[in-house]
Symmetry: C2
């Protein structure tokens, strides 16, 4: 790609970004769009207050930027929890790293690259210069200038490691102080016990009661046995749906002005009839629920949530082997009640085992299938190849603009679209793997997605470009650095374009402007069925966002010394992301769970891997550039980086797995003097009830009325 093509791409994308920005600024203040752009404020009832405060000038509309910028980290912590703070730290960390990298890259490395004469391209005007002129490929073989690159790699690694260390340290401290300042949460006091042994003539509930009140008499509080409620949950969902319809119909009875819109296309029958129909349905479902409920006693799962009076006791039970057989009384820390993935408990051991095998194979299959869009995208960057394959295109491809759009913009758009389809699949895969909490599922999907992205976007692109995408290279580890050194620099221009399209425009369009959601709303509005959905406040899809964000780190880190031209673009991406995601966290997303910053180790590990990858490429490049001494001297760098990683794992990772005894004992003592603790204990005793069971219980409580289920909703 030549410089002008890059500029075209940047131009198009900047224009698009501005377009989205202006559209967003205009649309977000319209109350009809409030549910789309500030759902969280609407749900919290703050929208009116928020809207009133804004003045309606065009430029003052941009105040949202200031509003997103202003809150301190502490305010964000209070508002959105520690996970959101940690999420924003990814951007801050990225900005810090790439600020340094960009200064070194642009002001030191780039001039040295440009001064080289390796690539003898005869045209001299700057716009037509190939981007390769600015990359390490242009430095002469064996030139001493490469020692500058060598030093840059060492210094950059030290800086990144220092930043990683201080960030890890800071977040670990933040996690502890968050724990100290947090109110008592059920998960802190509760343990999930599985594989409860069967005792003849005793229910699981009795077994648990006798076991824990014998061995933990002073701190055992309560327990709730888990039932297989899959079927009941289905019925409850059915009832919910029927009830919603019913309420909707009833509300319309008295609002004739809606009837025109509600009955367009003329599908809706007479309302009274329909109300009867739904009431009938509701009663049927109720009958089924009763039947299901009776058989539920037999559907006990040998697992239970056991709550204690102190955090320390819960930690003891979850860390120590309880029963004589290590496979009995298996304990683990419980997630928060709203975070539990209930369907998990319905699955049998064998089913989970089969599912795990299936997940591995599906992941492999997805990875292989994904090569198709990658190869298409790559085909577009190699126009010559495309022309020979599809000769009828050659006429169109002769146009300058088309060529530039096709090489600069289309490939990354195609890749991006396909990449969007993967995260939901990964969530499904993780959820059948047997995790007990949504947060665990999301973390697992995040890790899967991260390596999928690295492999399928980075490696597949890099290696398909040089037609060396062969698995057998893995069997010759010595050749890997050389192979990467040949392949990676060649893809610099593709990835610069990728940062601009996928990083900038995508963040504006799909994240800030929520373009898909907007389309959907418009589509819904234009069709008959009016939106009778409740307002749904989305949660931040970490599994989708974190891998995307980290991927730009990968690009920035690996191309740091190869093609420093990418660095300003990556830095701008992190700057834009910082503002936009802050805005989204404050206005759009509401936290669904709180892991206490458990996503940070994923970020840390990934950054270390990226660094090592850079070192491997450096070893290859210096070898290729005929500076074997530099190549050999780079070898200690990945080893030292991995040693640093090992130290960090030992030093920080345990802090993210649990809390220290010192902390828990102190917090417990504070609680004992708190007068509200007894009411918390009462709540705790029922906190871990299955939502389906709880619904049934509520319906039973209102048994006296004629339609108990209906009245339970009211």
């Amino acid at each position: 790609m030549i410089l002008s093509a890059l500029l075209t791409s940047v131009g198009i994308n900047v224009a698009l970004c501005f377009l989205f920005l202006i559209l967003y600024t205009i649309l977000r203040n319209r109350p009809s769009n409030a549910e789309l752009y500030v759902p969280r404020l609407v749900a919290e009832g703050k929208f009116q207050e928020y809207n009133a405060s804004g003045v309606r000038g065009f430029f003052s509309s941009f105040k949202w930027v200031k509003r997103a910028w202003q809150p301190t980290e502490n305010e964000l912590l209070e508002n959105s929890g520690l996970d959101a703070v940690v999420f924003m730290r990814i951007f801050i960390f990225g900005l810090r790293v790439f600020r340094f990298a960009a200064i070194v890259g642009i002001f030191i490395l780039l001039p040295f690259n440009y001064m080289g004469n390796q690539l003898t391209i005869d045209f001299t005007d700057l716009p037509n210069k190939s981007l390769e002129t600015f990359s390490i490929s242009n430095v002469d073989d064996g030139s001493n200038m490469l020692w500058v690159h060598f030093s840059a790699v060492y210094i950059f690694t030290v800086v990144v490691c220092y930043l990683l260390y201080s960030e890890y340290d800071d977040i670990a401290a933040l996690r502890l102080s968050y724990f100290y300042s947090s109110k008592p949460r059920p998960s802190q006091f509760t343990v999930l016990v599985r594989s409860i042994p069967v005792t003849a003539g005793r229910s699981f509930s009795e077994t648990i009661e006798s076991f824990f009140s014998e061995y933990y008499p002073s701190t055992y509080l309560s327990h709730s046995v888990i039932h297989r409620t899959g079927k009941l949950q289905g019925l409850v969902n059915k009832a919910d749906k029927a009830y919603k319809k019913l309420v909707h119909l009833e509300s319309k009875k008295y609002t004739p002005q809606n009837s025109k819109r509600g009955c367009c296309l003329g599908i809706c029958g007479r309302k009274a009839e329909r109300v009867d129909q739904y009431e009938k349905k509701l009663e049927d479902v109720e009958g089924d629920m009763r039947a299901e409920q009776l058989s539920l006693a037999g559907k006990e799962v040998p697992a239970a949530f056991v709550s204690f009076k102190t955090r320390f006791s819960a930690a003891i039970v979850s860390h120590l082997q309880q029963g004589l057989k290590p496979t009995d009384w298996v304990t683990e820390p419980a997630p928060d009640p709203q975070d539990i993935h209930w369907p998990f408990f319905s699955a049998s051991f064998f089913k989970k085992w089969m599912c795990n095998i299936a997940v591995v194979f599906t992941c492999l299959l997805i990875t292989i299938m994904f090569l198709v869009p990658v190869l298409i995208a790559q085909g577009l960057t190699n126009l010559a190849q495309l022309e020979t394959m599809l000769p009828f295109l050659s006429g169109i491809l002769k146009l300058e603009l088309v060529t530039q759009v096709v090489t600069g913009y289309l490939p990354s758009l195609i890749l991006e679209t396909f990449l969007d389809l993967v995260p939901p699949v990964m969530i499904v895969l993780s959820s059948i793997q047997g995790y007990i909490a949504h947060s665990q599922i999301e973390k697992s999907a995040c890790i899967k997605m991260l390596w999928f992205t690295v492999w399928n976007v980075f490696f597949a692109n890099v290696l398909s470009g040089t037609a060396l995408y062969r698995i057998d290279v893995l069997l010759e580890p010595k050749r890997i650095p050389e192979l990467l050194a040949v392949a990676v620099p060649g893809q610099a221009s593709f990835f610069i374009a990728y940062v601009v399209t996928s990083g900038w425009t995508k963040t504006f369009s799909s994240e800030l402007f929520r373009v898909k959601r907007l389309m959907l709303n418009i589509l819904k509005g234009s069709l008959c069925c009016d939106s009778d959905d409740e307002l749904e406040v989305p949660s931040n899809p970490y599994h989708k966002e974190i891998p995307r964000i980290l991927f730009f780190s990968l690009l920035g880190i690996t191309y740091f010394f190869l093609s420093p031209l990418i660095l300003p673009f990556v830095m701008i991406y992190y700057g834009l992301g910082y503002i936009i995601y802050r805005n989204q966290l404050l206005n759009v997303y509401s936290p669904k769970f709180e892991t206490g910053g458990k996503f940070w180790p994923v970020v840390h590990d990934a950054t270390i891997v990226f660094l090592v990858l850079m070192h491997v490429i450096a070893i290859g490049i210096f070898g290729l550039k005929k500076l074997p001494l530099a190549s050999s001297l780079t070898i200690p760098l990945p080893i030292l980086t991995l040693l640093f990683h090992g130290y960090c794992r030992r030093r920080f990772l345990p802090s993210f797995k649990g809390f220290p005894a010192e902390c828990m004992i102190n917090k417990d003592r504070l609680d004992q003097n708190d007068p509200t603790i007894s009411s918390f204990y009462e709540k705790l005793a029922t906190a871990y009830e299955d939502p389906a069971m709880e619904r049934v219980r509520r319906s039973e409580a209102s048994e006296s009325s004629t339609t108990p289920l209906l009245s339970s909703y009211r």
Copy 2:
């Protein structure tokens, strides 16, 4: 090797065994040999009683066999601890496995092998038949008889896995019941705390005191900070030595009849002078000790043994992260006081790290250097090769007997001698790796020794024979089964000879007859210096014995279907071993430490690896014998075996790492009602004092006398 050569070897070895057996029986009843053959009884003062009970006829001398056989497992448990019982279980397990294997192998597989016609050897008399006639090599290629071998492999695997499971289960239960029945032991109540944070203006002792009495006020008992006592220990040893000499000289003053022997070769001076000299020396050492002791306060290590009133508290502290920083207050279960490896605490972190790297390299070096004796031993089995290399030997080698001795006996003797040199090296290597207890060092050395034996005795012999001992085969995993299938059956006769020489004769000579020790005693007696050593009761060198014993399992398991002729020999080995080691455990070895059966997981893991190795060879053999279907059908077998192993790890291994909460709480409750517990607590408070420090304290207590150190000994 032909059958007659094997018979010669067996004959020689049986004769040797008988010789050793008779010599042992004669010599063991002589009181002068009591310290050699029944040191444990002597040390426990039971020798007289034991000796009196025996009648002095020749045949009644063999009663020791009966005495070794008679005690039940419970008596052995009481007498020698759980480790000894687990050690004997290796023999029982081996007998069970190879009893089954021998029946299947000799009565089913052997006839099928013999009936084959693959090896067309023209001589027909049985004594000259090559041993290969009895092995799988003789079965025709593609013959359906191989399905018998295939079924045998499957059935054998199932049987071994069943036996492994039941043995693991049994030993885990034994471990628990041993814990229940054991008296309170200091290690159960104590935790080793390392990396105690430095607090300004406070000693480590004060920091520990305040930390544990704040967070564990009800159960914290005491602590003892560890000092760097390497130098002091050296001085104490010096003092001990000088004192012993002194006592020895003084005792001689009044026993003139000893003077003749004591002064042979005329080296000893006038006694009075020497006594003065040693007293002077003792006083010097005492002065040094005082100086060292004064500087000891500054040599505190940030580590301490912290004792609690209950086992459960100690377990809690050792399992949960204590301090805010995961690298502070690092806890682990403490070993028993007599099991502690004190020099470890003197080493700095950096030194330990360097040592670890050095250990890895030394292990590699030893492995490579060890190829020399292996190749020599192999050279002797290939006589033709030897003759061409050393032509002058051809005259001697023409003699039938010499040939048979050289091929049948010498190779394994050479190998065995060199192999004997390795265990002490492994102990040294393990002890500088940073383990805190002798038992841990021995376990680590045991594992090192096991893989060393498997690699250097099994693989090196197998692969050097076929000149394919090349590391690069490891890079082509698909070729491994084929390679092994070619190489392993060829070494069957060598390994049969190895079982007979190394298994039978070695066990008799070096274990029962303690030939080296006997030689040493005779040598000492014939030289001037009379033995002024105290009676030293040895402990069972697990790190040396377990790998040796397991190696015969490896041979038995891998050759089970290849060359079943080996099986009776292995079975006899386990039978002999059972009697001999029982005798040694009861009369010779006294337990130095008690791990509670922690050596069993090593045995279990090794057996699983041996099974998988057999499966890999089977896959290769069936492929080689042109029965690809059987080869493919064997592939699930190693996978299933490894799944079984995974299950066992989950099911049993945690039981060998600690004790369940249920157990500890029960045991603690029993103790609380025990009146002796308060005296145990008193002892516990001083149990973890450094032996060097304790000695100094004792010498201080007797300060009033003129020569305090001297009086401290008296």
